[in-house]
């Protein structure tokens, strides 16, 4: 399947009609549409999606209604009575037929506001034979959607309409949900599922159930057995419904368990960091106390001695004056005249000599008395001198001591500040409030929940089996009581045939699914290695078809959940290429006898490489023309050189937008 052309009329950024014809040449199956950022490349990519499915790809947080499809320039020129059409026509061809799909909306303007209102919608499809000159056949309107979905399955649209800028965003949830379905459709497994559903899996509406009801019996006992059998059937269905519910709950719990385990795993280092953080906190506190202690020492010394040191020049000046006044010192320190009077009154000197008027000792004491206060200030002067000397002695080493203390303080403060900085930085790295205990409790709760649900599921399965056995027993009994007529015999044969068919389909489905999964998984790994030259990482499909990426470690591969944008795109590309290759291979197998060309979906890529490195762009680009019959790429001019796709290009276009105009135009590149 290839796209032949697309025509846009008044679609979003494109005013009037713009047309692109795509290269369908073998060997030159690439069409490139180049343009700068924001000129309207994505709009053309959106036009594909809108034409096929009536919806554009929305950005996160936006709804379909938020996108105005009618070109704003056209809307501005409308009045209250005028109408304007928006349409996109897509022409696709396969080996035999040409399909022209056209989606159209007629708008009115909610004048005077600049709002477009839908007036009429239309979707048409014309089919014609490529080889014959037969006229076009119009497909019935109600069947157009169905046919489009057959030709371009919507749930595969994420793969063949690939939006590099947005796909990685929606890849996890958007793609995970339908990967399995997509694979089943592509591989034909969905047909098995549909057949199995029709035969048995849709309960009382299924073929087998209907056939059973056709078989009749006679007598009250038969009727009673039939009624019992129906009850059993209802009980079995109820049990199966319950089992499905339990399975959903178990799956949810497992998912939550996995999330918590991943969280704990990711934060395993955090616990070590928290210990480091606590230790650093203790060290910080100790250093803070040491700083305070050093400060205290300096404050004490400063309080005790600074004033004495500051008073130095005062003391010196006062001393000079005092010395000038007092002359030679003759006093006895701390002695006053009253002291001499006391000694003389006692009649005996301190040295033991007897004191009496007229003796030498008596005269000496009288003389000394003259130099003592209060009659003389000489003694006070002496005290002043001694205090001055004491002060001097006390502060003699003070400058050195103070310097030493200042150095100590500096050392402490620096260490403390370094620790503080480290502490803050570590604090930022850590969410100090992470409560691992709470997470572990949650994990335990989920694990207990899984156990309980597992046991419930077991009970329920036992119950279902018991009903099943009961039902089989009843059916045996009923068989014995069936009316022995031709009608019943025929229904019985049909029933047995349907059951045998169901059994065979079921076996084949299981086998085929395993085979498909194995093949896809092998292929996706090969493609990832080939396209990304990946040696240190690999991707794998899980049983649920999640695409998981693994990093090589010393102890084998470890799953990595936090992928970069580039890695997500790389992963998804590997998947797309794998799917496309697989689909091609399957069709080749089918058509092996008929020697027909294989039909695959074209790939339309919007800015696929914007988040990839040059080397990866080259590797991916090289793989694309090989896996698809047709490749249509919208990309930045500047990235084109890295693709190395020039030799495959059949047609090239430029999207341009003049600065003064609000709409874009498409121009075919010369020489292509």
């Amino acid at each position: 399947m290839r796209f032949e052309s697309i025509a846009l009329h008044n679609f979003m950024r494109y005013k009037g009609e713009n047309r692109i014809e795509f290269s369908c040449e073998e060997g030159k199956n690439v069409t490139v549409i180049l343009g700068d950022n924001t000129v309207g490349k994505t709009t053309v990519a959106q036009a594909f999606r809108w034409c096929l499915y009536g919806a554009v790809l929305t950005e996160r947080g936006k709804r379909q209604e938020d996108y105005q499809l009618l070109n704003s320039d056209t809307l501005e020129l409308m009045n209250a009575d005028s109408r304007a059409k928006v349409w996109v026509e897509l022409v696709a061809i396969d080996e035999e037929k040409r399909y022209a799909i056209r989606r159209e909306i007629v708008y009115t303007r909610a004048f005077p506001s600049l709002m477009a209102e839908e007036f009429q919608k239309k979707l048409t499809m014309h089919i014609s034979d490529i080889c014959s000159s037969q006229p076009l056949v119009e497909v019935e309107e109600r069947k157009v959607d169905e046919l489009i979905n057959e030709l371009f399955p919507r749930n595969l649209s994420h793969y063949f309409l690939f939006d590099g800028e947005r796909w990685s965003d929606i890849a996890i949830n958007g793609v995970r949900e339908n990967i399995k379905d997509s694979v089943h459709i592509l591989t034909g497994l969905s047909a098995y599922q549909a057949a199995m559903k029709h035969l048995k899996d849709m309960g009382s509406y299924s073929v087998i159930s209907k056939f059973k009801k056709k078989i009749t019996g006679s007598g009250n006992l038969y009727d009673s057995l039939a009624s019992e059998c129906q009850k059993c059937e209802r009980a079995i269905q109820s049990c199966q419904k319950e089992i499905r519910n339990i399975e959903v709950n178990i799956s949810n719990y497992k998912k939550k368990c996995q999330e918590v385990q991943e969280y704990l795993e990711a934060n395993r280092n955090t616990e070590a960091l928290q210990k480091q953080y606590r230790d650093l906190g203790t060290l910080k506190k100790a250093q803070e106390e040491r700083c305070a202690s050093e400060h205290r020492m300096l404050v004490n010394e400063f309080s005790d001695k600074a004033y004495m040191a500051f008073a130095g020049p005062m003391v010196q000046a006062a001393m000079e004056l005092v010395k000038a006044v007092a002359g030679e010192r003759r006093d006895i320190p701390h002695m006053r005249q009253a002291t001499i009077d006391y000694i003389m009154k006692g009649g005996r000197c301190i040295c033991g000599a007897k004191l009496s008027p007229g003796t030498k000792e008596w005269e000496r004491l009288l003389e000394q008395k003259n130099y003592l206060p209060p009659a003389d200030i000489g003694s006070l002067l002496g005290e002043f001198e001694r205090t001055a000397f004491r002060w001097k002695n006390r502060v003699e080493d003070f400058p050195e001591e103070a310097q030493e203390m200042a150095s100590q303080i500096d050392g402490c403060v620096k260490e403390y500040e370094e620790t503080c900085n480290e502490y803050v930085m570590l604090g930022q790295r850590l969410d100090a409030h992470i409560d691992f205990a709470e997470h572990r409790n949650r994990l335990r709760r989920y694990q207990v929940g899984i156990q309980e649900l597992g046991s419930q599921k077991g009970q329920m399965q036992g119950k279902a089996q018991s009903y099943q056995r009961q039902k089989q027993h009843l059916e045996e009994e009923m068989k014995g009581l069936e009316a022995r007529n031709e009608e019943n015999r025929r229904w019985r044969e049909r029933l047995e045939l349907a059951e045998a068919l169901y059994k065979k389909l079921s076996q084949d489905f299981t086998m085929e699914e395993k085979k498909v999964f194995k093949e896809l998984n092998g292929q996706i790994q090969n493609n990832f290695r080939r396209m990304f030259n990946a040696k240190e990482k690999k991707i794998e499909l899980s049983e649920k078809y999640d695409i998981q990426m693994y990093y090589k470690t010393e102890v084998g591969y470890r799953e990595e959940k936090n992928l970069s944008e580039g890695e997500k795109i790389a992963r998804n590309f590997a998947f797309i290429v794998t799917i496309m290759e697989y689909s091609k291979k399957r069709k080749a197998e089918k058509n092996a006898g008929a020697m027909q060309e294989n039909d695959t979906l074209p790939i339309v890529l919007d800015s696929p490489f914007s988040k990839l490195g040059d080397e990866n762009i080259r590797l991916i680009a090289k793989a694309l023309p090989e896996v698809s019959e047709q490749v249509i790429i919208f990309m930045l001019k500047k990235d084109w050189g890295y693709t190395g796709l020039d030799e495959y290009v059949g047609k090239a276009y430029y999207i341009e937008k003049e600065a003064e105009k609000s709409y874009a135009t498409i121009r075919k590149a010369e020489g292509r």
């Binding site: 400060h295 300096l298 400063f302 500051f310 005062m314 209060p374 310097q403 200042a406």
Partner: protein, 174 residues
Amino acid sequence: MASFEFFKKEFEFRGKHARMAGELWIQNDYGRTYFRRLIDLYITAAVIGFRVDRKAKADYAPNESKSIFPEQMIGAKEDLDFIMQMIMILENSGKMAPEESVKKAFRGVETQEEFEYYRDLFHSYVRGGVEELYERLILRSPELDEGVYDGKTANVMALLERFGDFSGVSPASC
């Protein structure tokens, strides 16, 4: 000085001087305070005020006052008397004969009027000293090349560098 003794009563920092004293002395916060006790600030401020000849009148801005209780005063009386004696000697040396100024300093004041005069003189130096210390310890931002990393310590060291000087006083001179 028998009948009129200084430094036996409470002293109160008031107004802006109380605010400044509150920043220079923060009780039990050795990381921020410069003085262990308020009396230490009082003594140091008296010396600094006299050294830079900075007197300041009492201020009555509505700040909570800060008091030094009599027992603390009496505990430091010996050093305070010594400073007062020096102030009296040096303050009067230009106004009267050196012998007179020294005798005045050692015999002490003899009238209420004299007592109040010298007490107020001392306190005006204390307030002036508080202002000077506030500027040099609180308002000053140390330069990077002072060789001391911690800002508070750098200011202390700069103050010691500026005013700490006992080189002229030698045992021989005492």
